[in-house]
Structure formats: C-alpha cells, structure tokens
Symmetry: C2
Subunit: 267 residues, 2 copies
C-alpha cells in the first residue's frame, strides 16, 4: 500500500486506529474452543465488528508462532480475511544479518503478503535494508517502545542524544517517509514531540494506548502531521478482550468506535 | 541442558563446534528436491555426517519461517532427529514486551523443546526475563554481532563504554552463567578479550567463523574459559554448502572434522 492510499483511508474513516490481533488461545471465549480453528474464528468476529473503525490490523506474530504450524495457518487465513483496503502489519520485531534478513522479509512480504513488518534496530543497517528493498512495502523500526525495559538501553545517552533518538535520526537516512515508519511508545507522550522534530515526515506506529496506559488525545496533539495525520495508534487487549462472553464482538466494536470517535476530532 | 552437561560434551568431543542449520531451499542439492521434505532430508544428512564433531546445532529460524507452515514442520522433524546429548539453539533473535516475550519463550522452549534461543536486547529487561524464567534453558543475548551493521548502534559510545559492552554488563546481572550466554562476533577478535573481562564466566556463542571470516584459533585464545572452554563457535554455510553435489554430507563432515581438530588443541 502506498502512503497516499494509507492517508486516504485515514481521511475516509476519520481514524488512525490500528487493532493489534494478539489473539491468545487462553483468552478466547470458551464457546469458540470447539471450532476447528478458534484463533481464526475469534479474529473473524473481531474483524467483522471493527473493520469500519480502523485502518490497520497488526497480528502479533508471537501468539501465532507459539501454536506451531497450525498457528501460522490461522495467521494465513486471518490475512486473507482482512479487507483489501486495510493496512496489515506483521508485529514480528525481526532483525538479523543480511542473508537472514532477506528470509524474514520474504516471509512477511511474499509469503503472507503483509504491507508492513516491525523490525528491531540493534543489528544495524544491513539487517534493515532487505525489508526496505520491497516496493510499496513498509518497514516499521523500533524507536522508543512502551515497556518498562525501554529505560534499560533505549534511554542510554549517546553523545548529546538518547539511543532511541540516534536510532531514528540515523535510520531515517536509510529509508524514506514512503517506506519507513517508527514504533514510538505512547507512554512517553512528552517524548513524542521531540521525536516528531527528528522525523517530521515519517509515520509513527504508537502502541501502548489502552492496557499500557497512553492517551489518544495526547498522542495526536503531540505527534500528528498536518493534513496526513502521520500516525497509526494501536490498541490490542483493550479491544480484543473488552468482553469475555459471547458478546465479545459487540464489545470490541464499542471500544473501537469510542477510540475512532476521539481520533475523528483531530483528523 | 545444564552447564555441567554442556561442558562435559565439550570435553568428550574435544569440540565447541556449533553448526548453524541455515538450510536454504535454493541451495539444497537438486537430487533432494523430489523428496517430500527436502529441508528435513538435507538436515538429516548433515546431522548424520557431522554429529560426532559438534556439540550444538543452531537452526536459523528465518529459513524455516520463510516457507510457511511446512517450514515449521521441517524444523520440528529436525529437532526430533538431533541426538539427545547435543545442545540445540533456536537462532530467532526475538525480543518483545513481557506478555509477548512469554509467547516466544513458550514457542521455543515448550513447543519445539530447544535448549536455547537467541534474543535481541533493544527492548530491555522485561523482554528478556520471560526466557530466563525457564529451568535448565538458556537465553543467548545479542552482544556484539559480526555483520557490518554492528557498527551503527552497537558501537556507539555510551558513557565510558560501547553500547554492546553496556548491554553485556547490565544484562549479566539479570541472568547467571548457568542460564545466559552472549552472541559475540568473531570478526572482532581483538574485542573478544575485553568482553571476556566484562563477562568472565558466561558462555559466548561466536558466529562469523568461516563465510564471515573469523578465525577459530584467535577466538579460542582470546575468549576461552580455562577448564570449561566457555565457547560455542558457530559455522553455517561453510559446512552446509561445502559441496553442491550428492557428496555434500561427506564434504560437510570433512569441514566439521577440520574445525573440530583445530578446537581440540585448545580443549
């Protein structure tokens, strides 16, 4: 998907909501457990109820991987079920040397046909380049994450900057605002502003809204790009598990609609 | 596998060789392509011919993942085929927030029964802890990698140290030499000595011998631990693709035996 197509969807839906499909077999309502593929059935109902309110879905690969080959089959079916105009992100956080990076890029862009994949920066440029080489595909590099451990290394000072700032500054020369985005954790809204100065034109994927505590308004005010929004704001558990009962689809829909309604004020 | 068991195998075989199973369907001798599962058939022949000379196998997960569910099935069969006393490493370089990290740990330790998994440090302690919680399992954290991109972030100065030194120094307090190892690239043999000072008791997994250019002797002299060796030295492509013909098993055996013979002088 091109940047123009993504921005168009954001304007049409007045939403920059990304829904994280962190589908955990241990949290799926029990009535689905008798079906052939409970993970896919759960995702299907979530997608049916939320696709009007979001512009992206982000399957969290760990949850599928942990189930062995049948988890990957559920992922494949889920990808095919997501409507064409919705941006798809493999939340995989991969990163390895060139010849291995190529294999990861092939997995997500060629085998599963994702629009985007999240990548870890630690191994540097040749671990990221294989993803950037794909036309109209996106690399979403970890900048600042939303977990407590982000303080351990990302916030180390290196010269005049934090490591996460240096990661964004340097890598922004490797890709362009048309093929590279950044993960920037919403639990640090005050830091989003300074990141927007370092990368004024790149989309930010902002996790940590909801279960992890960030606020949609704060994020949109701090890091929006005028006319393009430039943000994908993610919510996972808050939407997926809004109800543990048979009405989980409706509950997810209400939560997604609430978030979309807040977003619409800034788009 | 416990540390004592691993050290015992190193002494019995006079080898600290780890063979990377970066099995690439595009490089497999063509006579295997007609079989039901060429990747598994290739691995089987490699294992048959090399298991006497190595103490560890390290499947590179990207190569299996890129083939979809059937790649994971080949991985599962490969794992079952590796003799019990050989240490197994999932070269996965995973790393994500706590609840997702748990899923990755579950994948490699519970579903596939690996002894160890490689993990990326960027997201900090709560992304690593879920792996460290398993009894008699190992986390192998990226310290200094052997690719050109290691210069981009790993070698940034942070305070008085390089980032990779700080990663090792800080994380060595999270695990112990009985459940935590480090990836330390062999193309920087001069740096291995100083890393051994920072982490005197932890095993190092050293990639980059062979195709990537490092020397076994240099590594063993620079970073060995007296009486325990404390090293797993990896070779992948040099062994797997020593011949492109039907004799690839024998060629792999010769190459593995050569490396083991060099190692035996220092064990």
């Amino acid at each position: 998907m091109t940047r123009e197509e993504l921005v168009q969807q954001i304007h049409i839906k007045k939403s920059c909501l990304c829904i994280g499909l962190d589908t955990d077999i241990a949290k799926i309502p029990s009535f689905l457990l008798d079906t052939d593929d409970p993970v896919f059935e759960f995702n299907k109902i979530i997608i049916d109820h939320t696709h009007e309110y979001c512009v992206a879905y982000k399957p969290n690969i760990a949850f599928y991987e942990s189930m062995g080959p049948k988890g990957w089959m559920a992922l494949e079916k889920t990808l095919r079920y997501i409507p064409e105009h919705i941006f798809t992100i493999a939340d995989a956080k991969r990163g390895d040397i060139g010849n291995t990076g190529k294999m990861y890029a092939k997995t997500y862009f060629e085998y599963y046909h994702f629009d985007a994949v999240t990548v870890a920066p630690y191994m540097g440029r040749d671990s990221i380049d294989p993803f950037l080489e794909y036309h109209n595909k996106w690399t979403i590099l970890l900048g600042l994450t939303s977990n407590p451990g982000s303080a351990d290394f990302q916030m180390l000072r290196t010269g005049d900057a934090y490591l996460y700032e240096e990661v964004i500054r340097l890598s922004s020369e490797w890709g362009t605002p048309r093929n590279l985005m950044y993960v920037t954790g919403a639990t640090h809204a005050e830091k989003l502003k300074s990141l927007r100065e370092i990368a004024p034109h790149h989309f930010f994927l902002v996790p940590g809204v909801g279960a992890q505590g960030g606020s949609v308004e704060e994020v949109m005010k701090a890091a929006g790009i005028k006319g393009e929004t430039g943000l994908l704001i993610n919510s996972s558990r808050d939407i997926l598990y809004a109800s543990a009962g048979e009405d989980f689809g409706q509950a997810a829909q209400r939560r997604a609609a609430e978030l979309q309604s807040v977003m619409s004020r800034y788009i």
